[in-house]
Symmetry: C2
Subunit: 227 residues, 2 copies
């Protein structure tokens, strides 16, 4: 496994967390604490205690915890885009490519050549994304945040996948809607399986993993709507 260094633009932070030990610790331990406490209970003070630093030090890197979540989400989407590129660039058949992409979306961290991120627990980051990433945009400030370009990571990933959908069926009217629905469903269905199991057939007590089941379901839905 190679190690990948993902660099995000200045708009995502006050000071680049990749530029210092403390910064990298904020990110790596931040993922763990966020996963344990959930976004609402998570505070910079609690994270500071965890890493034996101070609230003020963390505030030097991120304006607030919401921006921290946006940073982590964008980090994840950028990594995912990279993995997809890496795993599918050689595939010519759009249908094969699209199916592979869905597999990656549902379970990127288990892909053979998935690139490692230094110091970051990808499973926990994925778990944070499943539970919290919708909160990046589900708020009053969405338009302001969007106008600053903080959602480009997610939007560019969706656009790339949508272009594959268009190759499969150029007549299809809703490639973007289909892709954003699938992206959302890929973490929602796993969340439902874990917490509201009556809302989905996907289940932990199945021979296939939840991620495989989700990929099956989404592949079926997407492919049939493209025929």
């Amino acid at each position: 496994m190679s190690t990948l260094n993902i660099v995000l633009g200045e708009r995502y932070f006050k000071k680049d967390p990749q530029s210092s030990d403390l910064g990298r610790k904020i990110v790596s331990d931040g993922i763990v604490v966020l996963d344990e406490l959930g976004f609402e209970e998570f505070t910079f003070k609690k994270l500071a205690e965890q890493i034996d630093s101070t609230e003020a030090s963390i505030y030097r890197y991120f304006k607030n915890k919401h921006k921290f979540l946006v940073y982590l989400s964008t980090y994840y989407w950028s990594w995912l885009e990279y993995v997809i590129e890496f795993e599918t660039h050689h595939i010519d058949d759009s249908i094969v490519k699209f199916k592979r992409i869905i597999g990656i979306i549902c379970h990127a961290e288990k892909f053979p050549d998935a690139l490692d991120l230094p110091g970051v627990n990808i499973s926990k980051l994925r778990s944070v994304i499943d539970k919290e990433s919708d909160k990046t945009y589900l708020n009053r400030q969405v338009d302001e945040i969007n106008s600053k370009g903080l959602f480009t990571g997610y939007k560019s990933l969706c656009a790339k996948i949508a272009s594959v959908v268009e190759q499969i069926n150029p007549e299809f009217q809703y490639p973007k809607a289909l892709v954003s629905m699938i992206m959302e469903a890929s973490h929602q269905q796993v969340f439902f399986a874990q917490h509201l199991p009556s809302l989905t057939e996907i289940s932990g007590i199945n021979e296939k993993s939840m991620e495989e089941q989700t990929a099956d379901f989404l592949c079926h839905t997407a492919m049939s709507s493209l025929n």
Copy 2:
């Protein structure tokens, strides 16, 4: 239009807001304030100021603002289930029925016989649901809240629709997953159209309304995956 009185169980409140003028005002004005401020900015203090009452008085009805959101969401899902029942009980053909249900999910308040709710602005309640309802379960307490039966409104609605899907195609493997995905997409796509338009083809500047476009998209996706 008839007026419908929706009664929710005791577990949804400390004191039934339907049992007093103040309680009904908390609900009706609460929807408006929640719609304006968003869930994070919304506080009982601000609502109290709006209705010329006090924080303490509102706390007598609801334990906290999250429970208030759960109450409003369940209120909406119960109303929606009622509208669906009212508008589709006479339809025998499962396919026709399912298509109609999708139409209602996307735009219940504009259905000819939609039942009115006393003092409640349904459009604003719908707007709150689009933006905030996911926050009822996207939190650390989801399992505890679920174990108290506070999500039965949503779950029973999804189960009813899933049973129609099963009638259309008893072989289909994912009726519940399909329904929960569609339910989520029905508010997500409208939100995207309004705030992150590059994620969807659904748009306000189209001859058809956003709700109609969403219904078209979801109908197409759902029906093709059932064939």
